[in-house]
Assembly symmetry: C2
Homo-oligomer: 256 residues x 2
DNA sequence: GCCATGATTTCCGTTCAGTGGAAAGTTGTG
DNA sequence: CACAACTTTCCACTGAACGGAAATCATGGC
């Protein structure tokens, strides 16, 4: 915050303004934005006017600003993940149809599991994670899978500071290392209330069809669970294979 | 030179660059962007570097640019529609579960039907419209509903130039006007191959719970159809009611 | 290997768009 | 009606953005 030695480009200011918006701040007033983006009010005001004119932001009835449709359109185009969403969704729905449970699809994003699609349970089901959410790798089913089947360097990094989230979270590096080896061996991961009390999950990796590169992971989360969640593993494996086979030729997950 | 009298702000240039990306141009090289955005190469290059640094764009292995994760995140936050998506999705899934058909949810966007959510059929089902797509109002089920239940001014505007899309598209203003009156009367709309040959649909309006403002429309599209699609209408009505009731207090669709 | 072709990156002097303090306008509250 | 909080407009100064041009990098034809 307070003064980096970075460049003060208009672009960076625009970035700062857009960065003021997040899941908990979707409607912001001029002064809030000016505050959060650390910009003089007059400057923020002008940039906001320009962004609004361009459709990046929209003005609500009460004068607050919100993310505009233009950004939504652009977001839909976003990179690889959009292809994945397209491809994976029907398979996730198949899994949901045959199990009735909430199904998630996540990919690796730096050192978090990025949830890119979800097929939720019935209208009443409580939502644990929604698309776009980033959750820790060591405390989620999909996260453990992503860790287990990706490179050693990431894995070791993630084992450094495993944050405790519930009383059941695995936080000792040794314990986690063994857990991941086990996941690799048996081909799927489990969690029991490691992220949220009352939530259990299983997850399997999604690999490309041809060469077997890790693409992401799909998992089932439920609240009423015990270890017979394992019975879902075959269904998940079928879906994962299906997704892998349907992937465009060489759209592997290239990360710098 | 090339003087428009408009503002040549950095923001507008950024807009131009982002505008160079669309569904058919998701990976662009520097020179393509410079071309499409009508900016000098050096300028485009600098702005691209800034946008990339800010995470708005990402650089692919082959040097081309693509929409970055930052934009995707922002897009997910987008305005009213995001609330609608959240609220509607479970109901759409209920409809899908009980019918097995592809379910769509669309809202009015200027003079097009903007599809904001879809629950597709099985993996093999061919996709007619994906989230973010804009389709004509007069040739889709949801579109007819949106037209029928919204203001006269929009309706008359849409009746001006109804584009012919298939041999079955209704293009005579008089015919359409009668069709819309009929839709209003019976409470749902049908289409038969008016947008795409081999595609049939029914759709119903989604109104807010309290006062009855039009929010959007949900519909079912199928390829193997005849008019017994009507049997789905009750299910759709139930879902529409459910969505209406679940809407946040006063999040009606405010458009300028 | 060597030069032609085309794209990308860097450079840098000029200038004009961006800046932001301050003042004016608006809305709401007691 | 005075006061406070927020938004919008104004405008003189200045340094960031601009873009032509040159350097560098990538291909590929012979």
């Amino acid at each position: 915050m307070a003064g980096r030695s970075n460049g003060i480009t208009v672009t960076s200011r625009v970035l700062a303004i857009l960065g003021a918006f997040d899941a908990h701040h979707r409607h912001l007033s001029l002064s809030e934005i000016s505050e959060r983006a650390d910009l003089p009010i007059a400057t923020a005001h002008r940039l906001l006017a320009e962004l609004t004119a361009g459709g990046m932001l929209e003005r609500d009835a009460d004068g607050t600003y919100e993310i505009g449709r233009r950004l939504w359109d652009l977001g839909l185009l976003a990179s690889v993940e959009q292809d994945l969403r397209e491809v994976a969704l029907p398979f996730l729905q198949d899994v949901h149809a045959s199990t009735g449970e909430t199904v998630h699809f996540a990919v690796l994003d730096d050192d978090a599991a990025l949830y890119i699609e979800r097929v939720a349970g019935r209208a009443s089901a409580r939502v644990l994670s929604k698309p776009g959410a980033r959750l820790p790798l060591h405390a989620t089913g999909v996260g453990k899978v992503l860790l287990a089947f990706s490179g050693r360097s990431l894995r070791e990094r993630a084992l450094q500071s495993p944050q405790r989230l519930t009383a059941h979270t695995m936080t000792e590096p040794g314990r986690l290392r063994r857990e991941l080896a086990e996941v690799r061996r048996r081909g799927f991961a489990r969690t029991s209330e490691e992220l949220t009390l009352g939530a259990f999950s299983v997850a399997v990796p999604v690999m490309t069809g041809e060469d077997s590169d890790l693409v992401g992971a799909i998992g089932i989360v439920t609240g009423t669970a015990r270890k017979d969640l394992d019975r879902y593993v075959p269904v998940l494996h079928v879906a994962a294979k299906g997704i892998g086979r349907s992937l465009p030729p060489r759209a592997s997950t290239e990360r710098k």
